[in-house]
Every structure is written in C-alpha cells, then in structure tokens.
C-alpha cells in the first residue's frame, strides 16, 4: 500500500497505574501492532477486559502510552501536545455504546450536535443550524428533529444523533465502541447500513469495537482479535473468517445459528 495509512500502530503497550506501593499491573494492551488503511474499517473483537477500550482511549490520547508508536494520518500522534493536540483531535469522531448516556436528556438535538463545533470556536447562527440539519439528514433524521429533546428519542434515533455529532467536525477517522450492542437487530441493521453509507460518501476510516464477531465481520475490511491484552489475530476479514488461527476466534464464530 503506497498511501499513508490512516492509523499506524507499532508495538503499543498500555499499562494502568496501580496504587503507590502496589505491585505493577499487567499491561492492559501488550504490544499491539496493526494499521488501518484510509477509507477502510478495522473491526476489533475480544472478551470483556481484553483491552479494546484501552486501545481506543490511547488512540484518543485519553490514556498515557507506556511504549510504542501511533501515527495518525502520517503524523507522530504521541508527540502532539496542548493546542496542537486539541486541534488535531478533530480528525477523530467518537460514538459509544449507550446513546442515552452520551446525550444530555434536556438539550435539544440541535444543541447536542452543535456542542463539538462550539467547543472548537465555531459561531452559532443560521449557517450552523443549516449544517446540523444536513448532518441529521445524512444520518437519516428529518429536520423536525432539530428542536426535539434527547429523552424523546428511541435507541436507534439516539444513536443516529450521536453519529451526526461525531461527524460535525468532519473527522477522517471514526471510533465506534460497541455502537449497536444496546440495539435490537432491526435497528442494528439500520445503523450498520448507515455506517456503510457514510464510509462510502465521506471516505471515512473506522475503528469498530464490539463483542459480536458476526456484526464486525460483516462490516469490517480487516479484523483484529484481542485476548487478555494481546492481539491474537489480525488480517483481512474474509481470511480470518475462512481460516481462523485461534480456537477462541473459532468459538466466537460457531456460537448460535448455523
């Protein structure tokens, strides 16, 4: 691949700090290496505590890294500090599992989607409102949602609003942590279709974390399986699914309907 990858991670180690006199903890992520090609989706699966969220938090620079390198869009991402870091973070949009927890119930949808833009110093006004209406439309919500409140939304609608907000600063990379796990299969299908459309229309790159291998196998180009902090499998999705190297991956694949 000649183009710069969206994300290039080399031998990343993340370790939480124990108490002052407590013994050192095991690393939450133990030497992860992988890359995310621009415009592609990388799926990350693994059991609870395997290090998925820690990995995402490190990519967001919300967690210190013990060693290793992260290059985002060609830049040495760990070297950025202060204002430069804050500005560069705009390249990343974030969507989390529980749409309701991440949206303040009393704010209107317009206020919620405006939040990141206002935080970056953009001016409130008709132009912003028009942009928000456009984002909502891209996420399958009609303009009359602008003045509704988050507490009146269904789970699927709330997740659409969260996606619209994540897109508001026009990020190149989207980080999604269990974005459909709290939703019914009928709504999950709508959200997965929406993400596929956005990937296509905006050329988004995505990091998609979930427990559900079948969900991530469907939409990802490459697949990474984590277990207890280790990357146990990484490759093109079709290949991992066709010939899983790990018993753990096979177990996940064989659960349920055949």
């Amino acid at each position: 691949m000649s183009a710069t990858p969206m994300l290039d991670i080399d031998n990343l180690v993340i370790r939480y700090r124990a108490g002052l006199f407590a013994p050192r903890l095991k690393p939450a992520v133990n030497g992860a290496s992988f890359r995310l090609v621009r415009g592609e989706t990388l799926g990350i699966v693994g059991e609870s505590g395997s290090g998925k969220t820690s990995l995402l938090r490190a990519v967001l620079r919300l967690l210190p890294v013990e060693s290793g390198a992260i290059r985002l869009d060609g830049e040495d991402w760990l070297a950025l500090k202060g204002d430069a870091l804050r500005r560069a973070r705009q390249k990343i949009g974030v969507v989390s599992q529980n749409p309701f927890l991440s949206l303040s119930p009393r704010l209107t949808i317009a206020e919620i989607v405006a939040e990141p833009m206002l935080a970056q110093g953009e001016r409130q006004g008709p132009a912003m409102r028009e942009k928000i209406a456009g984002l909502l439309a891209d996420c399958g919500l009609p303009a009359d949602f602008l003045d509704r409140r988050a507490r009146e939304l269904s789970g699927g609608q709330a997740q659409r609003v969260a996606i619209a907000r994540a897109l508001s600063l026009e990020p190149g990379l989207m980080i999604l942590d269990e974005p459909t796990s709290a939703l019914d299969v009928s709504v999950q299908a709508q959200i997965l279709n929406l993400l596929a459309d956005l990937k296509e229309s905006r050329g988004l790159s995505m990091l998609f974390v979930t427990h559900n291998l079948k969900v991530v196998a469907h939409i990802s180009d490459t697949l990474l399986v984590m277990r207890r902090g280790d990357v146990v499998e990484f490759g093109r999705t079709e290949e991992v699914i066709r010939a899983p190297a790990e018993a753990y991956t096979r177990e996940l694949l064989s659960f349920g309907r055949r």
Binding site: D184, A217, E251
Partner: protein, 317 residues
C-alpha cells in the same frame, strides 16, 4: 398437561396518559424439561409476560386471560406463593440481583434458610454444593467473596445457584447473557442446559438474540407488539419461519447478507403501547401486507406443532 399453560394473556397498566397495553394477547405452552425461548424487539412485552407469571406486575395492572396456569394452578391466585418456591428468576443484571455489602456465603444462606429447615453446617455444605453445581471451580473461595470480587459470569452463576437453592423447578431467565461476553454467555447457556438435563428444570428464556435461541432452546415463541405471533420447535422457527415478522428479524442479522452488503433492516417501529390495534399489528411494516391485514385479526396457520398468525396462506410461508 404442559407446566405453563397460558391462553390469551393480557396485561394493561393504567397511567395518567391512558392504559399501556404491555401484553395484548400472549399464548404460551411450556412442557416440563423444556427450554422455551421468547423473542422479539424491545418493548414487545417479553419482560412483562415473565413478570405476570412471577406475580410481579406493577401496582394497578390489570391481568386478563382465558387460561393462566402453572402446573394446573391459576397464576392469578397463586403467583405470589409459587414465586420462590417453584418459580425462580434470573435477571439480566446479576450485579443488581446481589447485595454488594454481603458476602456470597451470607446471601446463599439467607435463601437456603428461608426454604429449608437445616442446621447451619448443613446449610453451608448445601451452599457450596449448589455453587459447585453451577460449575464454579472454587466454591469455598466464592462463598468468602463479595459480589464485586467476582466477574459477571461468576455472579450470574451465583444467582442461578440461589434460584436452585429455593428448590424452584421453573426458572424465568430474562436476558441472562446480555450483560456477558459471548464466550461467558455460552458457558452460562450450557450450564442451564445441563441443569435442565440433570435436575429436570424447565426454563422460560427471554432474549432478543436469535443466537441465544439457537444455542439453548428447544422451542420458541415470537412476540410482536404484545402478541405471540409464532411458536414452534426452534429448528422450524429459525429455518422455516411462518410469520413475516420472524423472517424479517432473521433477514436483518449481519450474517444473513454477504460480507459488506446492505442489511435488510425492518423499516418503522413497533406500534405505540397505548394504541388500539385492529388487524395484524405488523401490517404497517410488513412487506407482504394486503388490504385485509390492517382490518381483520389474522387466522392461525398450523404445521404440526409449529403455529403462526397471518393472513397469508400457509403454503406462502
């Protein structure tokens, strides 16, 4: 005689904005020794059906039914006394079901003491043996632990052990694996299957996950808008579904489409729980709806023990 025999159950909850029809018409027959799955989208009435069997409906709720029987006894009169003695609950959130400030030993003992007249030492031995029966590797260590020291999978096994301690032979498991990992969830389902085989338990398994139905259940009933719309052996319901709603749920799953292809999302949403429904509740979303569908209640289609409600002729399914 089936252990659970429910015919045309409805549960309505009065609220300031009008009655919520949480359950409109559910029929359910569960044989002894069977794991019976109940599936449907969120808000379809799965939990409320389970709560009605447990006698735990909200205050003021109205229950009507043509038949509402557990082991031949009318649940409208007996649910309170059957709960805990014959009917146990395993809920979605094991952490919430356990008291965070009491040791597991104390919480197991409370349950055993309430149901069995045994001396202290025998109760402790019983607690350890019940925990061992749920596959917990070191029951003595678990007994000394507090809930936060156990993983979600271990907590769920403790909750199952508590249900067994009551002597209940019918368990209602409401999304028992939703809060767990796929692999831990699979272990809990395998445990329930083993307990059914070894102890002759019967289980009502509430879930919105078709994979859980496939993995654990013998028969399944599909709920839509508070109505049971299809019931049958799991193999038939999943592989030869009769009802268009069941077909739509299965088609929406990510592994139903080729890699990367668009998924068959079901447009629209379930009808509001306060609305009146004349014909088939699925009509506004059904790709095969006909004029008669919105007007008249659909007839029952029968293929052996596989039954569903639909205006489409049986051979169209």
């Amino acid at each position: 005689m089936p252990l659970i025999d429910i015919r045309d159950l409805s549960v309505s909850i009065p609220t300031p904005d009008g009655d919520v029809h949480a359950v409109r018409s559910v029929s359910l027959e569960i044989e002894r020794g069977e794991i019976h799955g109940v599936i449907g989208e969120s808000g379809c009435g799965k939990t409320m059906t389970g709560m009605a069997v447990l006698g735990l409906v909200p205050k003021g709720a109205r229950i009507t039914a043509e038949r509402f029987h557990f082991d031949g006894e009318d649940l409208r009169e007996k649910a309170q006394s059957l709960r805990g003695r014959h009917i146990g609950l395993i809920s979605q959130d094991p952490a919430a079901a356990l008291n965070p400030v009491l040791s597991i030993a104390r919480q197991m003992d409370d349950v055993i003491r309430a149901h069995r007249d045994l001396p202290r030492k025998a109760r402790r031995a019983e607690a350890a043996s019940l925990l061992a029966a749920t596959g917990l590797p070191d029951p003595e260590r678990v007994l000394k632990s507090y809930p936060h020291q156990l993983s979600g999978g271990m907590q769920q096994r403790v909750v199952i052990a508590q249900a067994l301690a009551t002597g209940a032979d019918f368990l209602i498991a409401d999304e028992p694996t939703t809060a767990l990992d796929v692999s831990v969830g699979a272990q809990v389902l395998a445990l329930l299957r083993r307990l059914v085989a070894e102890r002759g338990l019967t289980v009502l398994m509430i879930t919105h996950d078709m994979d859980v139905i496939a993995e654990a259940c013998d028969r399944a009933t599909v709920l839509y808008a508070g109505r049971s719309v299809e019931t049958g052996p799991v193999e038939a319901v999943l592989n030869r579904p009769g009802h268009p709603y069941t077909r739509a749920l299965l088609a929406a799953l990510p592994d139903a489409a080729p890699h990367g292809a668009r998924l068959a999302a079901i447009e629209g949403s379930i009808p509001p729980p306060r609305s009146a429904i004349a014909g088939c509740a699925f009509a506004p979303r059904c790709p095969q709806a006909m004029p008669v569908c919105a007007a008249e209640p659909p007839p029952e289609r029968v293929r052996g023990t596989h039954r569903w409600l639909c205006h489409l002729p049986e051979d169209a399914a």
